[in-house]
């Protein structure tokens, strides 16, 4: 039996996501002992994690309050911190996992007694060191992406070298609540005269982005669902007053016919495991539903910088709300797709980008099925995923390339590859200059400045959010990971990292060649062509 500590000082959603890793670890080694360390304010959520033996809680807010209050002795802050960690400190761990990939945990790992550390840690020189290429990817590449091309649970399972198993019990379900919930939901189904009625739960909690589903959207959606014999709506609340007001308003609109459930956190998993589909903003409830493999329709406010799904379950939907008037139709369309029903939809075209979670041999990804499409961004996402996975050791995704080539307008593809090639060429020039300068440095120290200058320019490319930038950030991570003491070993390691960068960029070169094959239009012809929107993925 091995003892593992998972330090997860991140958000509630990250705590729930860790259920994928914990369940997979226990599936590999059922007798292993797992403890987690979370922020005290998320203790209730952490209690939902199945298979965890001990939950340690660290009250970061309390420590900060003591420290920043001028009248309080800093000793109180230190006492709070040390008391919370006393038991963690005295244990000999077989492995310590910096799950939330934060700076507190990265230092903390050094203060604990652990055989192995997974994720990011700070070494004795104060430099962030990652445990493997996936941890480097997480810390340097994924952290700079507005839209993660590889889902977080997949990356984190790889960091711990544990396959991401499916069909596991990840979330604790209180058996008493499960029994009651099961009976109640059977009654709810029978209200429409059939035990096969699908229960659609609508979560009224605000999302982590503060987005709330508007009353008009709720009314339109509920009206259609309630009129159908196939569905029954249940409103989920968590006790907040604003939610009670919404329920009252909706009930007055629907003659008090709506069912609402005030869900205590301890009963959340029992309730969510009994519903057929959850419509929700982006929050911990939807993350729990996803872990329970309950179908989800996630709704977020549309933002260029908030392009992340909090579910990875197959056939879940994610809708970015740009236009409220079409949102109800988008939700109903998703429900129709999930249950193969024909609920009436008022608008066939919608500007709201709607994505479906799809699973292939490489994991989960999002495919846009509706709404305004930025084809370049979508191609970037899919090819970015393909390149990242290939550079991380997966096989080349021929199928995706073929699919893109046969479904995307050749003009758009030519424009895309031409821009990517331009980006690539600039980077390769700097890479080769860096390699030459490094060679020169070996002959004379006078070449030091030119080497550093090229290296700086190269690393600056990583500051953008493009395919090439991601590859350069991976290089930056490899360079940061160099722990050599002497100059020669250091230079050798940088040279190796530069050659690894060259190999990673070669993946892009190959891909461009594949995409360009049979794509013979010139760039001038492309610029004259109209943009034709296509669905890819």
């Amino acid at each position: 039996m091995k003892k593992h500590l998972i330090i997860n000082l991140g958000s509630e959603i990250e705590i729930i996501e860790s259920a994928y890793l914990i369940a997979s670890m226990l599936n590999e080694h059922p007798t292993d002992h797992i403890e987690v360390c979370v922020q005290a304010k998320y203790m209730e959520v952490a209690q939902l994690l199945s298979g965890v033996k001990v939950i340690h809680q660290l009250d970061l807010d309390q420590v900060r309050q003591y420290y920043h209050g001028a009248i309080y002795s800093n000793a109180f802050a230190m006492n709070e911190f040390s008391t919370a960690l006393e038991s963690v400190m005295s244990t000999d761990w077989d492995s310590i996992i910096n799950y939330s990939n934060d700076s507190i945990a990265a230092y903390l790992v050094g203060g604990l007694k652990g055989e192995n550390c997974f994720g990011t840690r700070v070494n004795s020189k104060g430099v962030a060191i990652t445990s493997n290429k996936w941890a480097t990817y997480q810390n340097y590449v994924a952290s700079g992406e507005y839209r993660n091309v590889i889902d977080r649970p997949t990356v984190r399972n790889h960091i711990v070298s544990t396959p991401l198993y499916r069909d596991l019990d990840r979330i604790r379900i209180n058996q008493d609540y499960a029994l009651v919930a099961n009976q109640n939901f059977n009654r709810i189904r029978q209200m429409k005269g059939s035990t096969s009625t699908k229960v659609i739960a609508i979560n009224l909690s605000a999302g982590v982005d503060q987005y709330c589903i508007s009353r008009a959207v709720l009314e339109d959606t509920i009206e259609v669902l309630e009129e159908s014999t196939d569905f029954k709506v249940v409103l989920l609340l968590n006790g907040e007053n604003y939610q009670k007001n919404i329920v009252n308003e909706l009930n007055s609109r629907f003659n008090n016919s709506l069912i609402s459930i005030n869900v205590e956190p301890i009963a959340l998993s029992a309730v969510l495991s009994n519903v057929d589909l959850l419509i929700s903003t982006s929050n911990q409830q939807i993350a729990v539903a996803d872990c329970l493999e309950t179908r989800c329709v996630e709704i977020k406010e549309h933002s260029e910088r908030n392009f992340r799904s909090n579910t990875i379950g197959e056939s879940n939907y994610l809708i970015y709300a740009k236009d409220e008037s079409a949102l109800s139709s988008d939700i109903l369309l998703a429900i129709n797709e999930v249950f193969e029903t024909e609920l009436p939809i008022s608008t066939l075209s919608s500007p709201n980008p709607t994505y479906k979670n799809v699973r292939d041999d490489y994991g989960s990804f999002q495919s846009q099925i509706r709404g305004d499409i930025d084809l370049t961004k979508e191609i970037n996402y899919h090819l970015g995923r393909c390149i990242s996975l290939e550079n991380l050791g997966y096989s080349h995704n021929d199928q995706l390339i073929k699919h893109i080539k046969s479904n995307v307008d050749s003009d758009i593809l030519t424009k895309f590859t031409s821009e990517l090639r331009e980006d690539l060429t600039g980077t390769v020039k700097l890479l080769l200059s860096s390699l030459r300068a490094l060679k020169g440095l070996r002959n004379s120290e006078t070449n030091l400045n030119s080497f550093i200058s090229y290296l700086d320019q190269l690393i600056k490319i990583g500051q953008k959010d493009t395919i090439i930038s991601g590859i350069v950030r991976m290089f930056e991570g490899r360079v940061e990971n160099i722990e050599a003491e002497d100059t020669e070993t250091n230079l050798k390691a940088i040279e190796t990292a530069l050659f690894e960068l060259k190999a990673d960029l070669q993946t892009v070169t190959t891909l461009i060649a594949e995409l360009a094959n049979n794509n013979t239009k010139t760039e001038t012809e492309v610029s004259k062509s109209s943009n034709v929107q296509q669905t890819i993925g």
Binding site: F81, E86, I104
Partner: protein, 216 residues
């Protein structure tokens, strides 16, 4: 303390209640202390309705405290009153003659730094209580109360020693007379994180430095 009570006596008001007189200052009305206390408490009513915790500067002989407690009791299920009173003789006499039955009221006496070393006081202050000055007590002990209100906790380990627990002292290096900032700067400028204690101090520094951020 002797100087504090160089002229200390308990007189009886017209309606038969004890009134402390210190250095010639009557801490309550010599005619009707309860009526005066009631008016005093009503003057703070809005604060007492808004906040169920009150920090009262000055015990007097407790009449005003009882009136404050009545208002809090009317408006809150739970409440708490902490009284700061530097005059230990006064506290002793009060407890001997009257004493609060209400467990939600406590009197704290002593050196200011000692008071701020008490976890119970710190926990209470973290809840941002209403601060109510008993003017005659405040005037008598103006320097003490002014120092109390402007107190800043010392930041060096040597002066924290009474508050640091054994667990904390075993986890952190508190042997040098330096502040947290100084220790962190020393670790950073040395360029090497030497041991577990250094790592914990750096982790602690990350906690207090900002909201938890991703690594890099």
């Amino acid at each position: 303390m002797e100087e504090r009570n160089s002229r200390y006596e308990l007189q009886t008001s017209r309606n038969g209640l004890s009134v402390p007189v210190i250095n010639g200052v009557f801490l309550h009305s010599i005619y009707n202390p309860i009526k005066e206390a009631n008016t005093f408490a009503l003057g703070h009513k809005s604060n007492l309705i808004a906040n169920n915790k009150a920090l009262v500067l000055g015990l007097g002989f407790g009449y005003h405290i009882e009136e404050i407690a009545k208002i809090l009791n009317q408006h809150h299920k739970n409440y708490q009153i902490v009284i700061i009173e530097p005059n230990e003789q006064l506290v002793f006499d009060f407890n001997a003659k009257r004493r609060f039955e209400d467990q939600r009221i406590s009197i704290i006496s002593g050196e200011i730094s000692e008071i701020f070393s008490m976890k119970s006081v710190v926990e209470f202050l973290k809840n941002r209580p209403s601060i109510i000055r008993h003017e005659s007590s405040f005037a008598l002990e103006k320097e003490y109360y002014t120092n109390f209100l402007s107190y800043k906790a010392p930041t060096h380990f040597d002066s924290m020693r009474g508050v640091l627990t054994d667990t904390t002292m075993s986890m952190f290096d508190t042997t040098r007379d330096e502040s947290i900032d100084q220790q962190v700067n020393r670790i950073i400028s040395s360029g090497t994180i030497v041991n577990r204690q250094d790592y914990l101090m750096m982790a602690f520094n990350e906690v207090i430095a900002s909201d938890n951020q991703g690594m890099k």
